[in-house]
């Protein structure tokens, strides 16, 4: 795995040396902050009203009314933004012919793929960590429960891992970054909304579609519950995307 880390280090360097990381992170933080403070304003407005008219606490709770929706929105924002981070990983190497350096080096293909995944994942984690200043702000204002916050971050990162996996996969299909981003975005969105088809489908089919949907597994994390089946789902999903990437690159090599 030392080799995977070598690849990851190189990719991280190129993220931080180019404007990509800074632009993407800024956009992400601005959008997320905007949504967060909108939600917070709405919440304080409601709690003031509740106090005025009923003179008592009706169970308005920071966790349910601010933190949970803000994480939901973060998940959507990440869905829009991660394809931009992942689009370079293989597409750029192929385009600029640097891929031949990786291929002629004594490293396994799986190490290259994992390194690429690791680099994107590190960047995404950093972005999510930076955004946590909003939650810090809440901690100063009120007393939200810490447990669900932590599990929500875990859930978000696992979900982001799936986006990154799909992004790396999309990037392995082509040497054109735009196409890679569009495919990654399409796949991510599709895996997000696939649960919608559940209503129309038959009972068993509906259950399967529900299970496949990325959001479905997010719910329990947001409530503070870590269910092994959800973790397994996300990890399997990530593994599967990386496995597909391996298949694509391997077959390309032997075509």
């Amino acid at each position: 795995m030392r080799n995977a880390w070598v690849v990851a280090k190189k990719d991280l360097g190129s993220y931080f040396n180019s404007p990509v990381f800074y632009v993407v992170t800024t956009v992400f933080l601005v959008i997320y902050s905007f949504i967060f403070f909108q939600i917070l304003t709405f919440f304080s407005f409601q709690s003031v009203q509740a106090n005025q008219f009923q003179g008592m606490n009706v169970g308005l709770n920071l966790n349910d009314m601010v933190i949970e929706p803000s994480f939901h929105n973060m998940a959507v924002t990440l869905l829009l933004i991660i394809p931009v981070l992942t689009m370079r990983s293989f597409a750029d190497e192929k385009k600029s012919k640097t891929y031949s350096l990786l291929l002629s080096s004594p490293v396994h293909l799986r190490e290259i793929i994992f390194g690429k995944f690791l680099a994107c994942m590190t960047v995404v984690t950093l972005m999510v960590l930076l955004s946590s200043y909003c939650i810090g702000f809440l901690l100063m204002l009120g007393e939200p429960e810490i447990g669900p916050i932590i599990t929500s971050y875990l859930g978000i990162l696992l979900m982001a891992g799936c986006y990154v996996g799909m992004g790396v996969f999309a990037s392995s299909l082509t040497d054109n970054q735009i196409i890679a981003a569009v495919i990654a975005f399409g796949m991510s969105l599709f895996m997000w909304i696939i649960g919608w088809a559940a209503q129309a489908a038959s009972a068993e089919m509906g259950e399967v579609l529900h299970y496949l949907s990325l959001v479905e597994h997010m719910q329990r994390f947001l409530k503070g519950i870590v269910d092994t089946s959800d973790v397994v789902y996300y990890l399997t999903f990530i593994f599967f995307t990386l496995f597909l990437t391996h298949r694509v690159l391997d077959s390309e090599r032997w075509r």
């Binding site: 070598v6 180019s18 640097t98 031949s100 350096l101 002629s104 004594p106 490293v107």
Partner: protein, 318 residues
């Protein structure tokens, strides 16, 4: 060291190389010569485990490039046609990465980087961003990358392309230095370059080996005649006949009214006699110069000589 048998590669329905067979021994420097599209880069890509062959086999140090490619990749250093450079990295950063990915032990990375920086004369640009270097410097960084792990075998695809004449000489010297401890395959479509560096040449044409020959064999078989151009100021219509009448002259072709291509026997001092004749007849010499054979002409020669068995020096696969 390197053994290639019947190697064939199809891109879709079109073959890029058709049944190539050759062998390179340890410590040899072999040149691939051929015009554009001959299949030089394709062959090299296959040897470096980047492309799969359609059929046939290639072995490096006894390891098959398809079956045991990891072992093969440990032993080779490769400079592809387009140097594999990351434009946003610094030269040192890039070479460090190359060393690490080529599995140079962590402790030796710095020493390896310093060594190739010196060898490829890159010290003064060590901290520069690769994307902002000139083409020649980029080429040198590519070359540095290929030898960072001190590989047994170096495969260099047109290593001197884009370099200035002084650098070309430097790099040739460097390759000759390396040749003492390494086995080297390099490609080029420049004949003089190959003749200076390589002991043996493999000539590829349209995906096939047109000839495998030692350099002496090749030059001697080609240098039975030499040719030069005579350009005169005062054109007269009997010049061609007069030139043809000289001893040792094989043929004279009037390229324009005042320019003639003279083919004569090797070392026959015909030039002197042509000059004397020009002076005596006051033609007015504007230019008298030797023309070397172009690659196309060598190919013509080689393909013609294939039909005369006595002229073929070594068979394919020596």
């Amino acid at each position: 060291m390197i053994e290639v048998k019947d190697l064939t590669k199809f891109y879709g329905p079109r073959p890029a190389i058709k049944g190539i067979t050759f062998k390179v021994n340890k410590g040899e420097v072999v040149g691939f010569l051929g015009p554009n599209g001959a299949g030089k880069s394709t062959t090299m890509n296959i040897l470096c485990c980047i492309l799969p062959a359609s059929s046939g086999s290639a072995e490096i140090c006894g390891y098959d490039v398809f079956e045991e490619s990891l072992e093969v990749r440990k032993k080779i250093g490769y400079l592809p046609e387009t140097p594999p450079l990351y434009p946003d990295m610094t030269v040192t950063g890039y070479l460090k990465f190359a060393a690490e990915i080529r599995r140079v032990p962590a402790k030796k990375v710095q020493a390896a980087v310093d060594r190739v920086l010196e060898k490829c004369v890159l010290q003064e640009v060590r901290q520069r961003i690769i994307g902002r270097l000139s083409k020649g410097f980029q080429q040198r960084v590519g070359l540095a990358q290929s030898m960072i792990h001190d590989p047994e075998i170096l495969i260099l695809d047109e290593p001197t392309i884009g370099l200035d004449p002084i650098q070309i000489i430097e790099i040739r010297k460097l390759i000759q230095d390396l040749a003492r401890e390494h086995t080297i395959i390099l490609s080029s479509h420049i004949l003089p370059e190959i003749t200076q560096i390589c002991k043996r040449v493999i000539i590829l044409n349209e995906g096939e080996i047109a000839a495998v020959d030692s350099l002496e064999g090749l030059t001697s078989s080609l240098n039975k005649s030499e040719r030069f151009v005579l350009k005169v100021r005062n054109s007269q219509n009997n010049i061609q006949d007069k030139l043809s009448a000289l001893d040792n002259v094989i043929s004279v072709k009037a390229e324009t009214e005042d320019q003639f291509l003279i083919e004569c026997e090797m070392n026959s001092e015909t030039q002197d006699r042509v000059a004397r004749m020009a002076l005596e007849n006051s033609w007015g010499i504007e230019e008298l110069k030797l023309v070397s054979m172009t690659l196309e002409e060598i190919f013509l020669h080689l393909t013609l000589e294939e039909h005369e068995p006595s002229e073929v020096k070594n068979g394919v696969g020596t």
